[in-house]
Symmetry: C4
Subunit: 229 residues, 4 copies
Amino acid sequence: MLEQLKKEVYEANMELPKRGLVTYTWGNVSGIDREQGLFVIKPSGVSYDDLKPEDMVVVDLKGNKVEGNFNPSSDTATHLELYLAFPEIGGVVHTHSPVATAWAQAGRSIPCYGTTHADYFKGDIPCTRSLTEEEVNNGYEKNTGLVIVETFSGLNPLYVPGVLCKNHGPFTWGKNAAEAVYNAVVLEEVAKMNLMTEQLNNKMSPAPKYIQDKHFLRKHGPNAYYGQS
Amino acid sequence: MLEQLKKEVYEANMELPKRGLVTYTWGNVSGIDREQGLFVIKPSGVSYDDLKPEDMVVVDLKGNKVEGNFNPSSDTATHLELYLAFPEIGGVVHTHSPVATAWAQAGRSIPCYGTTHADYFKGDIPCTRSLTEEEVNNGYEKNTGLVIVETFSGLNPLYVPGVLCKNHGPFTWGKNAAEAVYNAVVLEEVAKMNLMTEQLNNKMSPAPKYIQDKHFLRKHGPNAYYGQS
Amino acid sequence: MLEQLKKEVYEANMELPKRGLVTYTWGNVSGIDREQGLFVIKPSGVSYDDLKPEDMVVVDLKGNKVEGNFNPSSDTATHLELYLAFPEIGGVVHTHSPVATAWAQAGRSIPCYGTTHADYFKGDIPCTRSLTEEEVNNGYEKNTGLVIVETFSGLNPLYVPGVLCKNHGPFTWGKNAAEAVYNAVVLEEVAKMNLMTEQLNNKMSPAPKYIQDKHFLRKHGPNAYYGQS
Amino acid sequence: MLEQLKKEVYEANMELPKRGLVTYTWGNVSGIDREQGLFVIKPSGVSYDDLKPEDMVVVDLKGNKVEGNFNPSSDTATHLELYLAFPEIGGVVHTHSPVATAWAQAGRSIPCYGTTHADYFKGDIPCTRSLTEEEVNNGYEKNTGLVIVETFSGLNPLYVPGVLCKNHGPFTWGKNAAEAVYNAVVLEEVAKMNLMTEQLNNKMSPAPKYIQDKHFLRKHGPNAYYGQS
């Protein structure tokens, strides 16, 4: 069942430790088959060293496990809300990558200070509000997804393919699982650069809007001219 | 004698350089056999490159060497006090991992700023008081253990599986040697994230208590639902 | 066509990920054959894992592609302006190496705080002004080159073999592609050291001029005595 | 000639890139044969990838090259002054390791904030004064050695086996070349920990003297009890 998607999601998961984004099991990737209305996600708490493509768990869009020998990631309900609210996306990633997590813990959106950020994220990378006690105690993972969706009111999720969950850490997404991981790597690099930028200049303002737009549109949209296509 | 435990303690020791927590010989792991009242610990000052399972030293609960070709770790008396005071624990680790050591040198407990911390440590990771001159000059390593025990008055050592010894560095523990090492890795990651968090926001307060509790109890206690069990 | 130069430029490109200066495709190296008036540059958006010497693209000094299966780097017009303005140089590098990029985002020239810097860069490593909206919207990459040239008015580009483009990142250069990469590595190391230097002393001034000159001239010019020549 | 010493000095040199202390050729190690009054040092500017034991250069205590196909390190005159002034030492190391260099550039001695430092260095790791213009222009490398010796007036060089040269970087030493490299690694680790310690607590004072002494004397002197001897 969904063998090709399981393979892609497996490979995307394995990129996380390879790229230095996860310690132990602190991350998970999923990918969706929109036609069948099913997504595939890492099992909960399984070590990356032991992970195999066939261990991926298949879940439907009501959050029920459809196939798999393991329990799906404890963050499955968050992935589900993102798939429901953002029909453009095909893959979702969660990590505790250290610098992005520091911004999330600090409760700060990441301002766009330069072109590395602007090449992939249009404007700030937003930080959500805190969940309420009620939201934490009743449906925590689902509410984590809903507060991300609330944060993206008025934003295009493919133009801003990631978010910081306050006191928690980053989620990123993309057209598919591989692109979602790519954006998780970009986010960590940008988080690191921008932390150091503020250490070097304590009166930073964002890069001029016209530079941000130029770089984003070099890589995205009908007039993109970066790369080979 | 205690061949299986020696192997486990050896493997837990070897995780320390593999995970980047030790330079040269700056760390040691022990594990206990509660039934026999004996624990097994790294020999003092032996290079990790040369270490073998049979080099592990067996010590009784009066601190006497029972078996081994080498002297036990110079921190043996600290491990012993922890085993005596915390009957729930089965393994102890000491390192000088750089960021946790920086918090210890700064004399600061690590506040819980997010879920990475809350998944493994319930509340602050405490820093001990300074030892007095008398405590340092007479039974330094034993007193290091006793001041840790004093710091944990009213705390559950399995809910807060680690401590910072002021001006020195971290000790962690767990159900067994492997889990104690796992907690040493978590502590270093959390120390790093929380240092950067304060650099990004100089008015931090801890994460809301209900978020801390939610994450700790997702992974611990009767209602835990993370992982496969 | 230009097989030897393609090989050199390919090898210089491959040094970038090996030295930890690039994530994904965020960097490019070129090298020039001054006699033929042609330069060779990395293709745009091609992964370093897949790159081969024959993928290098040949470009003339009007910016036209002369040979190659791929589009040249999107930064080709910047490289071109540097070759036109600085006849002494034979290779150019662009990266988003994280610490140099942080200085660029902070809009700060890197002061010379010590001999590591002075061994390779005479005086500050300058940061350009921001490009205007007009300069960004009409010929962005060419104007990036022109603003670097403007910044170097009165400077010897072989004595200061690199620059920070504001809100963007570093360019470096040298006698050939390999030396340009060497200078990119030096720049990142110096950027890192000097960030930490300011964290340790918030009232820094540059190293005495006579120390800067001594070190630069130990390695450069007729009285150099470092190394074997 | 001095084959065994050349091998030891070669191996000590090769530890520098392996331990992450040098970029390119930014470091050198020497070792001395006190009976013959000769020391062996890395050749100047030779890549670590190409270095061989037989490339080591033999120098006498007047600074004359006695044997070798290459020029000795440009820092040879500094090593020589240290051997002349400190008869207890058998090996000398110079690096530009980034964090120790940042302290040197900041012009700050490293205070003893904890036991990692106290295990190997008794008290502050001192930073020299700046060299005068005269000292730089006439016999720079020799004067670098002399200003280190001046800084150590009243200090035991085996109790404080390293120094920061202002605006330049660290020198360390030890009983032999291998121990000098060991101390260079310790210095970089301590430099890193202590930078972070000040970031966590901007009102730091040194660790209590009795803790510093306890740790130093656990490892040094007649009552040492760390390790196997």
